[in-house]
Amino acid sequence: MELTTIQFERADGVATITLDRPAQGNAISAELVADLKTVCEYIEDEVDEKVVVIRGAGGQFCSGIDLTDFPVDDKPNVYGFGKWESACRTIERLPKVTVAAVDGECAGGGFQLALTCDVRVATERAVFHLHEVREGFLPGMGTFRLSKFIGLGRARRLALTGRRLRAEEAQRIGLVDHLCPDSGLDIAVAEAIEEFGEINPVAIELCRRLFDESFEMPYEEFIGSFLAAQHRAIQTEPFLRRVRKAHGVA
């Protein structure tokens, strides 16, 4: 697996993806999107670690889409946005616990990347903002995701104004789950992972999926989805082990 714009490490039960373009604010280039997709597929197929942490190099998370990817002398197209969204969706569907470890700037597509994760841990100096509308384009599928976290009114205001949100305020409105001192990100990430206890990948994947889908369908349809997903979950070894334990059977 050859990666040029991200680093990938595995240690102590955690797989870590580090966006590694510090000189460009870890901006999302076509190459970075391809690398992210490659590493996510590798994680899905080959990696036993149950936790994936996404972070940025050089004291910043991600400054958003790299505008130098667009040509000066040709008509811009949307294909790159499609590929970026596909990478985001892959992260969102990983059968792992996903943690965004946010330090410094978390803007535009980077903000969206953080939203694809199960948990967001941020340093006090982290800043979240959607700058796209101010710059004449759209905050990607952040338009789809953000209001599910903080409500339509807040999400729309943040996207339309591009207001910079400090980590403390982001925590107050439910965007950040764990706030930590600037030097304490690694400890805070470890604590956030610790909260999950035993990680059951099938249950994690299905539960996350049901929450996402709960916005898309009425109760009468959703109950069928829940039962189908629950049936799958209760066939897995972790659940069956609990049942045996409840019965006092080894």
Partner: protein
Amino acid sequence: MVSVMDTELKPRLISVGTANPTTTYTQADLLELFQCENKLIRRFFTNSHINKRHLVLPEPDEEGAMPFEDGAALIDKHLKTSLSIGTESMGKCLANSAITAEEIAYICAVTTTGFLAPGLSAYFTRDGGLRDNVHRVDVVGMGCNAGMNGLLQTSQYAANNPGNPAMMVSSEICSAAYVFDMTVRTGVVNSLFGDGSAAIVLLASEELTAKDGPQIMGFESLIVPQALEEMRFDFVDGLFSFYLGRDIPYMIGDNIEKPINALLGRFGLKRRDIKHWLIHSGGKKVIDAIKYNLGITEHDVRHTRTILRDFGNLSSGAFLFSLQELTREGTAEEGDWGVTIAMGPGISIETGLIRW
């Protein structure tokens, strides 16, 4: 036996045509016609996620009730309706291709909703204008998965006989297998199935491209014999009465990964490589079970849901109705991989891999 996979020239599915009886019923229409007051049975109808179905039902009597149809009447209905919509789907299928009826070298007729001798393939040969030396086979009694079993046979003929078009016609007159005894057992069945026919033509030829249709790449089957009794016909008071076990969706969910993993594994593919999923519209619960066990999306099952909503469960031809929807949508591109899945008595899960 040479399997489709082993031949260098894979046949392409070059055309599909479908037909249904002209009479349609909403679930509310049917509850009124059946004069059903049982709350549980009514719930099967109202929670089915089916808007309407095409069915051939007798005119109500003076009191608005549906007259009894005996076994002979049902067999007669099966034959007459099959000939009507079967030949219509054949005609549409041929009209969508450059193949004439006389060029068809092989026909496979598929049905589970009526037993006939001679089989439907003989009638389709006569009424569909096929030549008198056409090779014929009838796949009878295999249920909703039978379209896939027929596709395997038809594909093998086409693969081994390049240049010779092979046709498969599914004709399911589910209204010829209805029993109205106001039991929960028949209520489940009567709330679900619809009448329809789907015809396809397969051809192996060097001259065909992805634009002509997907290639048939391979198949994988699974039978779960311990669930043999879960979907079956019983002969009750002179009529075939279909039984659907309560746990079928979950059993299919439990087993669906096995054939899919084997099929994709043979080609070095992952599920994320599959762009198009053509799944039998068996009912809402079974679609949900497949969706959550394979980890596929609502977008992946959109055609499956549409066919269920607009036609009910069409048994063996349902996945071909989904294929027709996909063809109309026009989103399949050269190089795309697709998977077909049909589930039925056995219980069996039949899967196939196609590529544009």
